[in-house]
């Protein structure tokens, strides 16, 4: 699917798109997109085949993963990097304070190279006042937990352990 430039332009993320361009040069990086925790795509690879609603759902998944991990002791919440290893593919997600850069890579990709490239991008982005303001506007807000997610017994059980409320829920 071609990039939806109207969305990109509307969100004012052309600059962001350019900043992410070095990722395209890294061998083994198949796709990438940048979403906030509300599920709005801030930027993505121009020929990304990932549909907007799929990217939004992924952002929601990442927000939930972040929430799950915050339950564990010793897990610092900022600057987390997640590598999901699947058969043939690695999905790397950077949590930048409520917005997620997600890169789909081939198995065996030079992970150090990918991380280094993203670190440089992050440095560049951090310098941009416009970007910082942009992220601040987009990174707030509620996690998009669906009723089904919140209603699941597993979720209730773990949250009950954390809060001590409703501890009668059993993990099933």
């Amino acid at each position: 699917m071609a990039v939806n430039m109207s969305t990109v332009a509307r969100k004012g993320s052309l600059e962001l798109l350019q900043k992410l361009a070095p990722l395209r040069e890294v061998e083994g990086v198949r796709d990438y997109f940048f979403v906030d925790r509300k599920g709005t795509i801030l930027a993505r690879k121009p020929d990304s085949p990932v549909e907007e609603e799929v990217a939004a759902a992924c952002a929601r998944d990442m927000a939930q993963v972040g929430e799950i991990l915050s339950l564990l002791p010793g897990q610092e919440q900022d600057e987390r990097v997640f590598d999901f290893h699947f058969k043939g593919t690695v999905l790397i997600a950077w949590d930048w304070g409520g917005a997620y850069l997600m890169a789909l890579c081939k198995e065996g990709v030079n992970l150090a190279m990918v991380r280094m490239t993203v670190n440089v991008i992050k440095e560049e982005l951090g310098k941009g006042r416009r970007f910082r303001g942009y992220l601040a506007r987009h990174s707030g807000g509620e996690y998009l937990l669906s009723e089904q997610d919140v209603g699941s017994e597993r979720y209730k059980h773990v949250m009950a352990l954390e809060t001590g409320i409703g501890a009668e829920h059993k993990l099933i």
């Binding site: 564990l72 919440q77 290893h85 699947f86 058969k87 593919t89």
Partner: protein, 232 residues
Amino acid sequence: MALVGNLKEISIATLIQLSCVEKNTAQLTVSTPKGPATVYLQKGEIIHASYARTRGEEAIYRILSLCEGEFRVAEVTDLPDRTITASWQGLLLEGMRVLDETKKGKAEVAKTVGRHLDNAPNVECYLVASKNGDVFATSCEQDAEKMAGAAVLLAWKAQELSSRLALGEVGFTRVASGKTLTFFLDCGELVAVIVAKKAAVLGPLNALLDDIRKRLKYVELSNVQHGAEVMA
């Protein structure tokens, strides 16, 4: 008239028992992530079962381990060839015994993995648990239940990401945060969490994870004894 519901509300063993006592001729189907699990009954006797590439008695034992999924019991006239001749009472008793042994087998495998991790350099803490929250081995008793819950939820979210993006089988998830690397392993019926120092040399750590994944993957209903022997 069909009977429908979820195994969260009634156990599969009770469901089979009820149909047998009522001397029903019926097809019981449970929807599972591995595909449908099906049991055929003829006048209250179990005559055939199939589930996840298994058939006959082996399938029944696997089906008895299901604890969630939508089920449907419907009358049926077109019955398959008989693959099961044992009585339903005998099958259920044997199924319960196999389940019990499997649970003990899981615990044995997990404890062996735990002993391995106790001696591994750079591992700060670990946990091995079943997907229904039973903790089998851990070095962090205090937070074990919370860690087990988080590991199960994370395995679930990784599966959701996989299905959204068509990424295939989930291997493991690594989270880099602060000074630690946390590995979440989804090994079929078991999950594991391993917290290591960020400064750890990744080569040996990855080899260790590979080894543990292989060991935990041995925990399958049909070959749990074999898995324990291999590791011993």
